[in-house]
Symmetry: C2
DNA sequence: CGACTATTTCAATGATCGTTGAATCATGGG
DNA sequence: CCCATGATTCAACGATCATTGAAATAGTCG
């Protein structure tokens, strides 16, 4: 499969799909939040402001790598998180400003709700 | 003249299941909110404070009776709404106080989010 | 290069979802 | 009583879900 892939930039990994924030619908957001593992990823992310702590591999307490990848995709496709590649590693972050502009106040309340509840698992992203 | 049937308690219709509010988990709540019709039911309910306007049959703009019943059950089983039978009719209401105690601030933000978005359908519950 | 690591993708599974239409149940009124 | 009405239940369907484990991909480093 030869194609337009000749001029590959060395440090650019395959780009994952991120929806325009205006295209994100409330029902899709809530559907993405409707799973304890994904809520766990979200609160773990929110509890750790240090950008470079949140690489994908830091969430292994929550699920297997393959299952995590699946849940990462759900959050990403719902406009909640962004996945940024850096070398061999991928970092997760919350699309804070954009999301807050699109759905003011929602993320704070959701995170607070999830954070308070013992049914939501957590990953320790420190170190 | 609302509440005409207040004095008479003829017979009790089959009781529908309502979970204890403490047993409701955040992920289940969000899953229940992850559908545009259910969001539509919720905002329509929230927009109509008149208790006796919110009988089940008033939502027919949103879906068929049978499908509505399915979605009513989802909202009810997630602890969000209550179904009260009165004669041959059933009335829906939001479990406001309980839910707000269990998940402070969540319902307000959710309803506001859904209300603002044109993708969420509405039922006119006025007469 | 080739081994290694981090992550995604694929194929397969059983479970649950949203939807439809027909059947059923409960209640009130002639 | 029987019938009309409001609402739930059931059976079926294709679609999507969460999960698993194996395979593929992308970048790093010896």
């Amino acid at each position: 499969m030869s194609g337009a892939a000749e001029a590959i930039k060395p440090e650019v990994m395959k780009q994952l799909f991120h929806p325009e924030i205006e295209d994100v619908l409330p029902a899709d957001v809530f559907a993405a939040l409707g799973d304890p593992i994904r809520l766990g990823i979200l609160v773990s992310l929110a509890d750790c402001d240090e950008i470079d702590k949140a690489r994908c591999g830091a969430f292994t307490e929550l699920a297997s790598p393959s299952l995590l990848s699946y849940h990462f995709a759900k959050l990403r496709e719902a406009g909640i998180t962004r996945s940024r590649a850096e070398g061999t590693v991928r970092f997760l972050s919350i699309r804070r400003e954009e999301f807050d502009r699109r759905f003011p106040g929602l993320l704070d309340t959701v995170i607070e709700t999830a954070r308070r509840d013992p049914s939501v698992p957590r990953a320790k992203l420190d170190v």
